[in-house]
Amino acid sequence: MAEKLKLEMVTPYKRLLSEEVDELTAPGFVGELGILPGHTPLLTTLKVGELSYKKDSEQFHVAVNWGYLEVEGDTVTVLVDTAEKSDEIDLARARAAMDRAEDALKALPQEDKKYRIMEAALQRALIRIQVAGKKG
């Protein structure tokens, strides 16, 4: 059994990560899931959330937005629409996005189509702020 997992994170714009990690935690569709080396092959969809991984006893955090995670052997492939490392997040922008979304949610009726969109935007902003708060 290998001691490390190879983590590959790809977005449509670039290959964000390609690293050897010790363990990782991802926001799976049915709930948070942790993956250690030797995990059984798995394919899951991801929710908006925080993905964190440990490398040499150091913890890293990435805000991800909708995607897939595939475990195959000792390779973990993460395909996401957007991903931001904690040190790349623009906190001021995230805060502004949160305020905007909150205001919009207050003004909109719950049945409105936009309500769902703004709710998702709020969630993304919250996750970004949460991840940015942690040290990269």
Binding site: L43, T44, T45, E70
Partner: protein, 289 residues
């Protein structure tokens, strides 16, 4: 024989043109670098998704999902990707002609073929030939192709497909190979055709699916369409810049060749004028003697 003044004027105008083509070449080269990066970095995502998909599809029935099932030959949609601007050699013409050829060749096969065009030049090119087939034109989205616009187009296509408005969707675009080489490519987008399953089944891995196989498939398939559109967009953009760069380069070279020829002609004419004047002076002085 043109006069000295005429030739001089010609040289000046060719020089002006050369300046423009040189500048355009420079701009295209700078844009190309960015577009090329975008095209190259979009590849891993598309390839990974394709790999996951073909792995999934190997264990799925062909009609497990509407986007996978072959529905026969009712209406087809061709998505053509061209540039918004010209002056890029055969870039727009080639891809538009390929689309036209494809439509003409398959007119019998399908009840009806519709055409969706991205980029103004494709519309200009095909308006008079296939004007009745064009249902939609998107303009000004190729220059800064982002995933969001691609996703919107992808969703529109998927919706039209699931509503059974179309039974097959193709995309025609210039695939980027290098700055000088673009390959006109025709791909079938829908129904999705997963890569050929490998005969030896050792590569098939039994996955654990969360939440379940059907749902994973249902989410991954529309995604595939979006990614394919996005990829075609960025590749087409990179190809456009490459085509413009190389055609502007050859235009600049033609211009300097022309300037050389005109300068030679100018010097000859000047020499002839001097000789003529001399002869006149000599013969004048001869006659006085």
């Amino acid at each position: 024989m043109p006069s000295l003044k005429d030739i001089k004027k010609r040289i000046g105008s060719v020089k002006n043109t050369q300046q423009i083509t040189k500048a355009m070449k420079m701009v295209a080269a700078a844009k190309l670098r960015r577009a090329q990066e975008a095209a190259v970095s979009a590849r891993p995502y598309a390839e990974k998704l394709q790999a996951v998909l073909s792995n999934l599809a190997k264990r799925e029935e062909a009609d497990a999902h509407p986007l996978l099932s072959q529905r026969g030959t009712g209406r087809a949609l061709v998505v053509l990707m061209t540039a918004d601007r010209g002056l890029c050699g055969g870039f727009n013409g080639n891809v538009s002609k390929a689309a036209e050829r494809f439509i003409r060749a398959n007119e019998q096969g399908f009840d009806e073929i519709d055409l969706m065009i991205i980029g103004r030049k494709g519309r200009d090119f095909l308006k008079s030939r296939l004007g009745d087939k064009i249902i939609k034109v998107y303009e000004n989205i190729t220059a800064d192709a982002n995933y969001k616009t691609a996703a919107l187009i992808g969703q529109e296509i998927v919706n039209n497909y699931t509503n059974e408005k179309y039974d097959a969707v193709y995309v025609v675009y210039n695939a980027f190979q290098s700055a000088i080489v673009q390959n006109v490519t025709l791909e079938q987008v829908l129904p999705i055709q997963p890569a050929e399953a490998v005969a030896a089944d050792e590569s098939v891995i039994d996955y654990l699916y969360e939440p379940n196989r059907g749902q994973v498939l249902a989410e991954i398939l529309p995604k595939m369409v979006e990614v394919q559109i996005f990829r075609a967009l960025v590749e087409s953009n990179a190809s456009e810049q490459g085509a413009r760069m190389s055609s502007m380069d050859s235009a600049s070279r033609n211009a300097s060749e022309m300037i050389g020829k005109l300068t030679l002609q100018y010097n000859r004419a000047r020499q002839a004028a001097i000789t003529k004047e001399l002869m006149e002076i000599i013969s004048g002085s001869e006659s006085i003697k």
